[in-house]
């Protein structure tokens, strides 16, 4: 579609851009102590954006801006997911004690720009656009991670993030340049067919470019061995930012990974039709399966040793990236929809866990396991909700996490006996993870003094907890809406050649 015609399909992003600009201007009129009010503008803009995405989802899938963006249900799914995650994180940020003494107008504006970047990430089908989208998201994350200027660990988080981010972007770009050198085009859906016409002598270059590009994407979803930034960044960042980084950019990263690899290294046919045909130059299933197992095993084994709950959750989010990667090696529509279901479930339970950590931090001044002692008796709502989130992250029924894992394991097992070992590794890992998740629950109920008086958290805090806890429980029992939503989103816009 030509540039001008594309605009009529581009309302969500246009609204988002207007929101960002309005946010910047509105912030100028607030006194520093009132700068938190910028949030309402961004909040309203995001609501309108979600509404626009919803309205546009009646239109047929299309290719926008001369083959730069895909406008399809797959992108809409992730856009809605990202807006949902962002809205919850905005609410969390409003309650954050770490951000209270800062002027936070820019904080909300930067989150708005990051949403824009993620919207591009989930819909780009051109290498230049992919790179720009990743850069927008990364740059904004660097700044958000270092937002607590007086906090040494926040500074460290930001700096480490910049160095790792710059390095992995560079490697990814080198991979892109190899693809361009082989095919002479930047359009993902032209690269696939062009690669298919090359003979075997090009396989080595294809493999190197795939590994380099995987390094860039793996960094975004914090897959092992590209995860080294994750623990320090997650620990040092303000907690709402940590929660955000662990959910939204990760979802966008998975969307990009799926679209990029099925377009470039598959044959570019519709994924929803079933198995993705993959150019046989590379042992894709093996590479992805090994990546998945490494990621979840390392995440879980290191999470056990942590003394800080926030850092433990950082490693646990690496482990969850590993579980989700488990859905990809089969290269089947089932596997991809399992990843999408898991991302929805993961959004609620992970944001919930981080939110409780945030509340405990504000109350106790720390986030180590000992700060959780007796919490279950003192603040029953927090205790029960945290127990629910921990069970859900482990994958125990009847919670959302169980349904997510169920879909993933079902997809792996359906792919045949050659993948049984992957399912086995996933199951062993889930058992390992039980240890450190249960440890939080034990700390809350069995350690420390049993408080006689009950504290009720503030209204807004309780509301956010309920907004996150109820879906975690309900989707564990009644998940049909999610499954329907995912299965109707498995449509990819493919440009006609």
């Amino acid at each position: 579609m030509s540039n001008l015609h594309s605009l009529s399909h581009y309302w969500p992003e246009l609204i988002l851009t207007a929101t960002i600009l309005i946010g910047i201007i509105a912030d100028l009129f607030y006194k520093p102590k009132d700068s938190g009010k910028t949030m309402y503008w961004i909040f309203g803009g995001l609501a309108l954006t979600a509404f626009a995405v919803k309205l546009l989802s009646d239109s047929p899938a299309a290719i926008l801006f001369m083959g730069t963006l895909a406008h399809d249900p797959f992108a809409w799914f992730f856009k809605m997911l990202i807006v949902l995650g962002t809205v919850i994180v905005l609410l969390m940020s409003g309650k954050s004690s770490e951000l209270k003494n800062q002027s936070v107008g820019e904080y909300y504006v930067l989150i708005g720009i990051m949403v824009f970047g993620m919207f591009l990430m989930v819909s780009s089908i051109d290498m230049i656009m992919v790179y720009l989208a990743i850069e927008i998201v990364s740059l904004m994350s660097f700044i958000l991670a270092g937002y607590l200027k007086n906090d040494k660990s926040s500074n460290e988080a930001s700096l480490k993030y910049v160095i790792y981010g710059g390095f992995s972007s560079g490697i990814m770009l080198y991979g892109f340049s190899i693809l361009f050198g082989l095919t002479g085009t930047t359009k993902l859906y032209e690269i696939g067919p062009a690669l298919a016409t090359l003979d075997g002598t090009a396989n080595f270059a294809i493999m190197i470019s795939a590994i380099f590009i995987l390094a860039g994407f793996g960094y975004k979803i914090s897959a092992v061995p590209f995860h080294f930034w994750t623990p320090d960044v997650y620990e040092g960042s303000p907690t709402p930012v940590t929660a955000y980084l662990s959910v939204a950019p990760k979802a966008a990263g998975f969307a990009l990974l799926i679209r990029f690899f099925s377009a470039v290294f598959g044959t570019g046919e519709n994924v929803a039709a079933g198995i993705i045909p993959v150019s046989s130059a590379l042992p894709w299933p093996q590479i992805l399966a090994i990546l998945a197992v490494m990621t979840m095993t390392l995440g879980n084994l290191v999470a056990i040793q942590q003394e800080s709950v926030k850092r433990m959750l950082a490693y646990s989010s690496i482990a969850h990236a590993g579980y989700m990667l488990m859905g990809l090696p089969m290269l089947s529509a089932d596997g991809i929809s399992a990843v999408m279901v898991y991302l929805v479930m993961y959004l609620f339970m992970n944001l919930g866990a981080f939110f409780i950590v945030m509340v405990v931090q504000a109350k106790m001044g720390g986030d180590s396991f000992s700060d959780f002692s007796g919490l279950g008796w003192e603040m029953p709502l927090l205790g029960v909700a945290m127990t629910l989130f921990m069970f859900s992250l482990t994958g125990i029924p009847p919670t959302a996490g169980f349904i997510g894992k169920y879909y993933l394991f079902a997809a792996v097992i359906q792919a045949g006996p050659s993948f049984y070992w992957l399912a086995f590794a996933g199951a062993v890992n889930s058992v390992i993870s039980l240890y450190y998740y249960i440890r939080v629950i034990r700390q809350m109920y069995l350690e420390g003094e049993r408080s006689e008086t009950i504290q009720v958290p503030a209204f807004m805090t309780s509301l956010i907890i309920l907004v996150l806890a109820i879906p975690t429980l309900v989707f564990g029992v009644y998940w049909a809406p999610i499954a329907d939503w995912v299965s109707s989103s498995m449509v990819f816009a493919i440009p006609s050649m």
Binding site: T17, I113, L132, I136, I143, S158, I178, T201, I208
Partner: protein
Amino acid sequence: MADAAFWLMALLTVASAVVVVHHDKLLYSAIALLFTFFGVAGLYIFLWADFLAAVQVVIYVGGILVLVIFGIMLTNKITTVNISHTSMQRGAGGLLVAFVLGSLGLMITKTPWLVQHAAEPDQTVATIGRLLMMDYLLPFEVASLLLLGALIGAATLSRREE
């Protein structure tokens, strides 16, 4: 002749880049960066990207590098700071580098790259302009939002919190 010039240019780029990374004094590194930027501009000329080469010199050498040097000179005590490049695990690192370089070298020599025997273009500016306003209009516009975010972020991080 052209080959010799190319290799000279490539050597200049890589060698000065090594100095950038390895020199102890920040200012020397910044000056070495000047040669890297010039070398890259030279490589652009070999690709017939004359406009890009000029832009490279104007923006990177004339703008960014001058800014970097000013930044170094105006920052208190930064010139005397001893930047130690303590590298650990030199052996393992060297092996890894050798492996990666070997693989890349093998790839570069063995792969059937797409070679386009195009004639020298009359002008490149019009082509770039057409691409920016047609095929890559959206990335071009999106880049402005990226820069806006970077500016806001830089201002936020450097602002004094009262």
